[in-house]
Symmetry: C2
Subunit: 121 residues, 2 copies
């Protein structure tokens, strides 16, 4: 059988839109997604799950009600289940997100920045 | 509250042993682990779970009964649940592994290369 590596840079080159996660792999019932961030996202939470951000290129910030964390390439953070958070990036930031399949990017907030949760690249 | 990024390079600098995964983060009931590979691991499978390998530095190979995949930095692969596989690396390779908390590195094979599954760094 032919087995193929998933190359993150090659996958990142396949899209340019912001705030719209693309699925690149599934592990059990979890998805690995690539997303490009630029500007401010909507504050939201995921009531049923933690959410992992691993920065591949650039810098991002995650703001909480009582503090924030700055992440640069090679850094990750686990947003705890239920924690209100807002992601933002002054310049484009490329991120690997890990979360359960079906997770909605805007969580409990909904609204115009809600993206499809089933786009594979 | 003070939130801190998890810096992969800083964590990798904290250990030098091979084939001994170190936990750096937990997302729900999954662990994110760093491991340094060099040489040949034991062929094994994980009967209950998929397993993700994301290469951070170097090159590795995963051999299956009917083929193999080569991974270099910036590439990942999901080993399917139940698939017999053997990891190997000619030179040291630094890898991020994602799998359920409690997963044993040697899976169903056991033996001398079995490492603790609960070491945080």
């Amino acid at each position: 059988m032919r087995y193929s590596a998933i190359n993150l840079r090659e996958k990142l080159a396949l899209f340019s839109d912001h705030w719209s996660p693309k699925i690149i792999a599934q592990m059990n019932d979890y998805h690995f997604k690539l997303v490009k961030l630029q500007g401010d996202f909507v504050r939201h939470s995921h009531v049923a799950t933690d959410e992992v951000f691993l920065v591949l290129e650039g810098e991002m910030r995650i703001e909480f009600g009582d503090g924030h964390v700055e992440l640069k390439a090679g850094e990750m953070f686990v947003v705890p289940k239920g924690a209100e958070h807002k992601t933002c990036a002054a310049k484009e930031c490329q991120v690997l997100v890990v979360e359960p399949a079906g997770t909605i990017n805007t969580g409990d907030a909904g609204g115009a920045m809600t993206a499809p949760n089933n786009i594979w690249i």
